[in-house]
Amino acid sequence: MVEEKERLPREVVAMRVAKELPDGGFVNLGIGIPTLVSNFIPDGSVVFYHSESGVLNCGPLAEEDEQDIDLINAGGQFLQMVPGMAFFSTVEGFAMIRGGHVDVTVLGAHQVSATGDLANWMLPERGVGNIGGAMDLAAGARQVIVAMEHTDRNDGPKVVQECSYPITGKGCVSLIVTDLAVMEPTPEGLVLKEVAPGWTVEEVQKLTGAALIVPPDLREYEL
């Protein structure tokens, strides 16, 4: 049974995404698995984090006794003051995004389509959702990586032929990293790049809502 097989933990997904970040790059991390990515930057590499709350070069979260309500990330968590931090207005924060100055954003998703459409701001059953910075990041960051579980709570596919949820951006996702696979949406369809150890292409395909194109250089998940 496919369901009994072990999937990769969130930390490993984050670790795999971390490999994609350019040394010295400016990166915006979304909530969930993306947030974990910052724990796995390889030694000797530097990544500068951008947050929509209006800060560049933000670092770790503050200890409880050092919390300052005027020093937060986009989620409202308290940040440590670190050397080299820069503060700016939201206009500038989003000019950085839309102007192509943010190299990579890592976002969670409800659904991603085979051609890279992203849906991550609203679940139709709730009837209302939060866009926050997601649409700007989807439209403006130089590279959009999605980090998420391969399937939803009911084991339904989150990687789909076409998004049924309202989308955040069209054709914006360049890489999908899940707890089962690494995939690349292309205009021709979804290319399976890597699979989790112990999983076969067929097993991953069963849990994927779009046809996987299997290239000759398919590899096991590489960390």
Binding site: I72, T90, V91, V128, G169
Partner: protein
């Protein structure tokens, strides 16, 4: 013929048009000389083409203590106490956004219709150098043209016919020359003042357009005494006293991310106490800090937009992140939304920021790639430019803006602390009345001009957050 006025007398006549509390943008040439005649300590601010807001001439390199800046005409200027510096985009935003009351320019020609031509003359055909004249002319403020009445070839600089390629159309309302002051009234030129010794007929003969004498035609006698007055104060004793004119149905901007910071809590509580109804709130979140709860002491609740929703004061929210991240813990706003008590306009965060910026900067609309192909694009014009799809988004403005600063000076210049700059600095220029809540008010001149984030031109009222005020209740 009687003597013509010298440049400084013309400058004095232009300066006498200014009123206390106004900001005047000076172009180069004759207008720049207005700075030489404005009395010390006058209750106005001058904006230079180079981006100095609130400057005066130093009269020499070492006569003033401030940093030496290059002003219009290359003259050394210094920032006055409470002056600040702005970049070119902000300089243009000040003009287009209606934050400058008077622009004084020196065109080559002015027409009876109030058109002005600044950069192309018969002598310079094809020379394309409009510089900043076009921006000064288009700002929508009162435009005063200063120029010699006739050109060096003795041809009139004030002409009847429309100027084929103008730098500004129907923008000039007053012309000050070396012999006359002329008002442009619906395409009719009215001579209102003459230089000493000059007569209407002589001036009319030197004017290339029909001229009518004003009923109270008089001799020019510039007087600047009215500028030697106290500036209107901006510091209010407390929150309630600063919002007495905030009426039912108003649109109000308030910042807020997921944390308790960045919000003008004392003003929020003052607005709740005032009980104003039917408000449209423009904000990033609309009461999320209370749900997210970071840093909230046990048994307390964060003060945020929820207090207005709870009190039945909100009719509509324009927001980017309006509901709780968790569906199982709905915010006050989400509950009211589900009951159909409030409307919601959902906007992407960067689009909200840019719409606010546009509102404060006199830009009517802009194309953004954000939201193209999504629900947000529905009903909006879209356009493919260079192979990429963009949607047209419109500017947003508000009646009031309640912003949270860290320190302000008495002129309303503001600096922020940490990330609390984010939407506060964007909203400040976009409201009719901007009220800032700060921890401390200092004297003008105590904030480093280069570090001022929100120049006082955008700030109408200042309230000091009560000492020991808690963002939790």
């Amino acid at each position: 013929m009687p003597p013509r006025l010298d440049e400084l007398t013309m400058a004095r006549r232009a300066a006498s048009e200014l009123q206390p509390g106004q900001v005047a943008a000076l172009g180069s040439g004759l207008p720049a000389r207005v700075a030489e005649v404005v009395p010390n300590g006058a209750a106005i601010q001058l904006l230079s083409d180079g981006g100095a807001l609130g400057y005066s001439l130093t009269g020499g390199a070492d006569s003033a203590g401030g940093p030496s800046l290059c002003g219009p005409n290359g003259l050394p200027v210094a920032l006055e106490k409470g002056g600040s510096v702005v970049g070119m985009a902000d300089w243009a935003a000040l003009l287009r956004g209606g934050h400058v009351e008077v622009a004084i320019v020196q065109p080559a020609r002015v027409s009876a219709a109030g058109d002005l031509l600044g950069w192309t003359t018969a002598a310079t055909p094809g020379l394309f150098a409009p510089g900043r004249t076009v921006d000064l002319a288009a700002g929508g403020c009162k435009v005063i043209a200063m120029l010699p009445h006739i050109g060096s070839d003795n041809s009139p600089n004030i002409v009847a016919e429309s100027i084929p390629v103008a730098d500004g159309r129907s923008c000039v309302s007053m012309v000050i020359t070396d012999i006359a002051v002329i008002r442009v009234e619906d395409g009719v030129l009215v001579l209102s003042e003459v230089a000493p010794g000059w007569r209407f007929d002589d001036i009319a003969a030197m004017t290339g357009a029909p001229l009518s004498p004003s009923g109270d035609l008089k001799e020019m006698a510039p007087n600047l005494e009215h500028l030697k007055t106290e500036r209107p104060g901006k510091v209010f004793p407390d929150g309630p006293s600063a919002i007495t004119d905030l009426q039912d149905g108003a649109t109000v901007m308030i910042d807020g991310f997921g944390g308790p910071g960045g919000m003008a809590h004392h003003l929020l509580v003052s607005l709740r106490d005032r009980g104003t109804k039917g408000l449209t709130i423009i904000s990033n979140t609309i009461g999320i800090a209370r749900i997210v709860n970071f840093g909230t002491p046990a048994g307390k609740l964060a003060i945020d937009h929820s207090i207005l929703v709870e009190n039945g004061q909100v009719a509509k929210a324009i927001a980017t992140y309006p509901v709780s991240p968790s569906a199982s813990r709905p915010s006050t706003f989400e509950l009211a939304y589900r009951r159909g008590e409030v409307e919601l306009e959902l906007v992407p965060q960067g689009t909200l920021a840019e719409r606010l910026r546009a509102g404060g900067a006199g830009i009517y609309a802009f194309y953004t790639p954000t939201g193209a192909g999504t629900l947000i694009a529905e009903g909006k014009e879209s356009r493919v430019i260079d192979g990429k799809e963009y949607i047209l988004e419109q500017a947003l403005t508000a009646d009031f803006c309640l912003i949270r600063g860290h320190k302000a000076d008495t002129l309303g210049n503001v600096v922020y602390k940490g990330t609390s700059r984010n939407f506060n600095a964007v909203m400040a220029p976009s409201a009719r009345v901007t009220i800032v809540e700060v921890d401390e008010v200092v004297e003008a001149g105590e904030l480093a001009p280069e570090l001022i984030v929100t120049p006082g031109i955008y700030v109408d009222r200042i309230v000091i957050r009560p000492e020991g005020f808690s963002p939790y209740e």
